[in-house]
Amino acid sequence: METAKPRTTALKVPLSTYRIVQIILAVIFAGYLIWRIYQVFFVEAVYGPDTWMRFTIAGLILGGVYSLIAIGYTLVYGILFMINFAHGEVMMIGAFGGYFTFEALRAIPASTATNPDTNFLNAHPTISVILAFLIGMSLSSTSGFFLEKIAYRPLRGAPRLVPLISAIGASIFLQNAAQLLFGAQRRDYANPDALARGIGFEIPVGEGIVVLTYTGVLTFVLSIVIMIVLYFLVQRTRLGRSMRAVAENKPVAALMGIDVDQVISRTFIISGALAGAGGVMWGIHLGLVFFFVGFIPGIKAFTAAVLGGIGNIPGAMLGGMFLGIVESIGPAILGLNFQLKDVIAFAILVLVLIFRPTGIMGEVLTEEKI
């Protein structure tokens, strides 16, 4: 009864005025971009290879974090066809989880062979970082789980705009709750000394030296590892198969014996864990945590998810990486102030929505998903 009957559509869609305007705009934009690239590399040549490398590395690191958060948007969208706008706040909770883990471990006295009077954080940096990630991820998972139970599940049958508004409400609620609990001040993420920000491998490139920070390496490598684990989870496990089945057709998934509500809960738990990892990385690498810290990366990751094709997991991974790099080399290429990088990210969101709303890897939206 609900199965989508194939719609008969005209085979040839005539070029509408809208489409022509789109194409003209795209050509103008592409031309400008090529001209700028030519200018920057061959005429102005302000930046040496070391600077470009710095931009790219920064972009990849940031991209890894965006990807992790973007996957959360995409997983939830794939299953519920709603944008979980509170996802950035779930990440913020994870960032706080890591922050307080570090603070607590710093308060525990410990002694090592070289330094008899130190604390647990600096004596055992590896364990500390692992603990920070575990606690951050589990807090985010828990909040994702309750977010779905409280804010979305009661609205399961409602029109699609309703859970979206509930998501925005949940986002505002979580921000304010965090502000109430932890205060409004920006806090310094106090990493273990071995993982202090700014230090790292020094690679000579051209005339300069590029510092590949330890925090950056940790962030990038860990985000790739988590994405690989997630890919196997979705493709190879029973839970992954049931998630894909629920994403495709809920009544039929139930007819297989799959508890659809449980799968939805678990999806929120998984996407929460990814956001939590992203939050801890954000704190460790960029060093700041406060109640509003999830908002911008949340929207950026949403952009990344749309860019890759919302609902598509590899798309979210690619979209995140792409956005990270574009954001970091974009201002240089366009000759803009570097503080305008957010503008570039959101301009991309607008452009994608205008020119290719299904994203890079997105499939054509079927009727049931619209």
Binding site: M1, T3, R238, R241, S242, R244, A245, E248, N249, P251, V252, A253, A254, L255, M256, G257, I258, D259, V260
Partner: protein
């Protein structure tokens, strides 16, 4: 007591009174068919039995147990499998993943391999295409997959919703032969069909539905001979 008993069921879509007191029984080992035109309530009856729709009034009793308080996935664990209308294969999953999901409700992986062989025995085409994404299969192959997937659950009762829909006549015969084979192996079958001729040829009993009510019930032979059935559903003047 009958294996499956549907007792005076009333089901609504919002305000639309779709089933107006359906009662039917299916005995163990039987093939029972529900025939009727579009919108008669055949699919609604099946969806009510497996819990996708909840009746506002009436009872569905499986093997002596009232199903009212169970959700669809729990009812599946009780031995009900349905081949939904329009097949409902997971188009983005491979044939093998689809079959694997069919066995989702079975905890014993021991019989998995032999179940898979049984399905591939019934439908050799699926074996050839096991690594293929289900969306790329032809309609007939998708129907085979949908039936095979339901069999992977080892159902005690198999609900089939319009297995002949959209298939070439030659394929329809093959599918119906397979349904008969499945029944002979001991699975009870409730078959919903618009193709009344085919359905009555393999069923032992049948019910005729019209606008949410059962208007006629009899053995398959008697229904085939019935003048009203002949006129309305068999195309015999």
């Amino acid at each position: 007591m009958a294996f499956l008993e549907v007792h005076d069921v009333h089901t609504y879509y919002g305000n639309i009174h779709a089933l107006k007191g359906i009662s039917l029984t299916v005995e163990r080992g039987e093939i029972v068919t529900l025939i009727g035109g579009n919108g008669a309530g055949k699919t609604t009856t099946l969806r009510t039995i497996c819990g996708l729709l909840k009746p506002r009034r009436g009872k569905v009793i499986l093997d002596g147990e009232d199903l009212a308080d169970f959700k669809t996935h729990q009812i599946v664990y009780k031995g009900v499998a349905m081949v939904p209308e329009g097949r409902g294969v997971f188009a983005r999953l491979t044939v093998e993943e689809n079959l694997d999901l069919g066995a989702y409700s079975r905890n014993d992986r021991a019989t998995y391999a032999s179940d898979l062989e049984r399905v591939f025995g019934l439908f050799p085409r699926l074996k050839e295409r096991r690594k293929q994404v289900a969306g790329t299969l032809s309609g007939g192959e998708q129907q085979m997959l949908a039936i095979g997937r339901a069999l992977m659950a080892h159902p005690r009762i198999l609900l089939l919703d319009e297995p002949s829909m959209g298939l070439a006549p030659i394929l329809v015969e093959g599918i119906f032969d397979t349904i008969k084979d499945i029944n002979r192996e001991g699975t009870t079958i409730l078959l919903v069909e618009q193709n009344a001729l085919m359905a009555l040829s393999i069923a032992s009993r049948g019910y005729v539905l019209q606008t949410g009510q059962i208007v006629l019930q009899d053995s398959a032979e008697n229904l085939q001979a019935n003048e009203m059935v002949q006129k309305a559903y068999l195309g015999i003047e």
